[in-house]
């Protein structure tokens, strides 16, 4: 597999917009995906993820803006792009009369690969997908087998960029794990652009993410950076008694930096906009009420917390 992009980003979207009549699916999306990463493209159902992927794969045209893949404009050099990408749609459609091997060999021939290369790659990919012993026709495959075959066919050309549209959304836990393990095994060998609304999957395999909401990118960063941004805003304060907690909550109410406060028995769970001020004022408020502090903790946030904050917070 190759990672060569000639110095260009694997994906670069600038002001990308797509409308279907009055419905705006993508609204001036700007996004850069660097080569070699496993990149998660997060968003709720209907956020515009599939539309963006369809444009990147040359299946749809943007209404405005540009989409570049591996340094090529997808609308002008779609064949050059297709030669170097692998694409797995959310529901891969195979010819039901072919076997898994025939499907891979057919895909390889469409890339102009010679027979020996096609055979060698098909062997390796069938092994990787756990389908080496599958001799039945694809029409009789389970959803999990079809999805794993979908991933295998997307890799037949050794793509520089692999684009996966919701590869795990309809799978059972075992099928999901198998597909995620396949994706994780590609790290460092190719760029993976992976759309999903399943946050746990993205958190498990991706290095960086972009969050798409109502056709707009509301955040784009490495997972560690994104969660650290939110980590600074989550606080847990534990006091000696329930009464102390209630009194301190009253004392803190209305402070400018306090976004939310949730009293759970003797604990206060807070979201704050200014961590430094909160760290200064909370202990003094506790002291002023005469309450006794038991624990003061900056809480670990998950990708889910960030996602909910960005997506739900904007509603």
């Amino acid at each position: 597999m190759t990672e060569t992009t000639g110095g260009a980003p694997a994906i670069e979207l600038r002001g990308l917009s797509k409308s279907f009549g009055p419905t705006i699916a993508l609204d001036h999306v700007d996004l850069v995906v660097q080569p070699g990463v496993v990149f998660g493209f997060l968003g709720r159902n209907g956020a515009g993820k599939t539309t963006a992927l369809r444009i990147l794969a040359g299946l749809a045209r943007p209404t405005a803006g540009t989409a570049q893949v591996l340094g090529h404009d997808v609308t002008r050099a779609s064949e050059a792009v297709r030669q170097r990408i692998g694409f797995l749609p959310d529901v891969p459609g195979f010819y039901p009369w072919m076997t898994a091997r025939e499907s891979l060999e057919f895909a390889g021939r469409l890339f102009g690969l010679d027979s020996a290369t096609v055979r060698t790659r098909a062997d390796a990919l069938l092994e990787m997908a756990g389908l080496a012993s599958a001799t039945a026709r694809v029409g009789g495959f389970s959803r999990g087998m079809t999805q794993r075959l979908g991933l295998a066919q997307a890799l037949i050309n050794g793509p520089s960029l692999l684009m996966l549209d919701e590869p795990t959304s309809a799978l059972d836990p075992i099928g999901r794990r198998e597909v995620l393990e396949m994706v994780a095994s590609l790290r460092g060998r190719t760029t993976v652009f992976f759309s999903s609304h399943i946050l746990a999957d993205v958190e498990r395999v991706c290095d960086a993410v972009a969050i798409l909401e109502r056709g707009r990118v509301v955040a784009s960063a490495g997972i560690a950076e994104l969660t650290s941004r939110a980590t600074a805003k989550q606080l847990v304060v534990e006091l000696e008694s329930d009464a102390d907690a209630a009194e301190v909550a009253r004392a803190l109410a209305g402070r400018a930096w306090l976004k939310t406060i949730d009293t759970r028995e003797r604990s206060l769970h807070m979201t704050v906009s200014d961590l430094e001020t909160a760290q200064r004022e909370i202990p003094s408020a506790i002291a002023a009420t005469g309450a006794a502090l038991r624990r003061f903790e900056i809480d670990e946030a998950s990708l889910e917390d960030v996602f909910v904050e960005l997506v739900d917070g904007g509603r």
Binding site: R54, L59, E79, Q83, A107, G112
Partner: protein, 254 residues
């Protein structure tokens, strides 16, 4: 036309390994065998039906090889053209709705190659099936009847093949244009009926592909043919229809 050869190979393998091998070739073979037999027994059938009705006397001349070929061509015109419409309606829309078009067209297969490979495979199937059916018809006719002359039926079948090829192109265009197989089939039936009406209108029959329909009758009867305009317009329609199907499909989002 990137990816044309492997996609054409896929199409031909698909014909060999699915229902497509049996429908049109099977129908043509059946009609090739049954048409001479039906022509041979028709007088006896009519006689037995009218014998039960008092006062009704129907006298038919003895059947000939020409009746057998006429029956075959009439059946081609009705059953096979309808089968082409039904089978052709899903040729592109079926790939689109099943998701297979998405998978192959995100590889270096151009949309032009996709459409042209579909057309070529259908032409090859049609030519092979027509040759098989015609050979069966000529063979059975030669066994049942005397005085068989092959040239008129060959000319007639060649004209029918051109007309059927035009219908294949039109169905591919409709299948590219409409997302639904039903809509494509409906449009195809509309085209078939419209062309049939045109063939009965003198000026259209003289100057358009619709003239192939009366030309088939004339060819079978051994009459002189004036095929310039019908042939030229049919070939032009096939070329334009192919270009149109590629153009329409190329502009579609999948």
């Amino acid at each position: 036309m990137t990816g044309f050869a492997p996609f054409l190979r896929k199409e031909l393998t698909e014909i060999r390994r699915t229902w497509r091998l049996w429908v049109i070739p099977g129908m043509l073979l059946f009609l090739g065998v049954s048409s001479p037999i039906i022509a041979a027994i028709t007088p006896a059938l009519v006689k037995s039906v009218t014998a039960a009705q008092r006062g009704v006397v129907v006298q038919l001349p003895p059947p000939t090889a020409l009746d057998a070929f006429g029956q075959f061509i009439k059946n081609l015109d009705q059953f096979i053209l309808i089968a082409i419409i039904i089978a052709g309606a899903g040729v592109i829309s079926g790939e689109r709705s099943s998701g297979t078009a998405t998978l192959v067209l995100t590889k270096p297969l151009s949309r032009g190659a996709f459409v042209v490979a579909k057309l070529l495979s259908q032409f090859l199937l049609l030519v092979a099936a027509t040759a098989l059916g015609t050979a069966a018809c000529v063979g059975v006719t030669s066994v049942i009847f005397t005085g068989v002359t092959i040239a008129p039926v060959m000319t007639t079948v060649a004209l029918w093949l051109l007309y059927a090829s035009l219908l294949v192109v039109v169905m591919t265009l409709f299948s590219a244009a409409f997302r639904s197989r039903g809509a494509a089939a409906g449009a195809g039936l509309g085209f078939y009926l419209f062309a049939l009406l045109l063939s009965n209108w003198g000026p259209a029959a003289r100057y358009s592909f619709a003239g192939l329909v009366p030309a088939m009758r004339d060819a079978l009867m051994g009459h002189a043919l004036s095929l310039g305009w019908p042939l030229a317009s049919a070939i032009a329609a096939i070329v334009l229809g192919t270009a149109g199907a590629v153009w329409v499909f190329d502009r579609q989002e999948l």
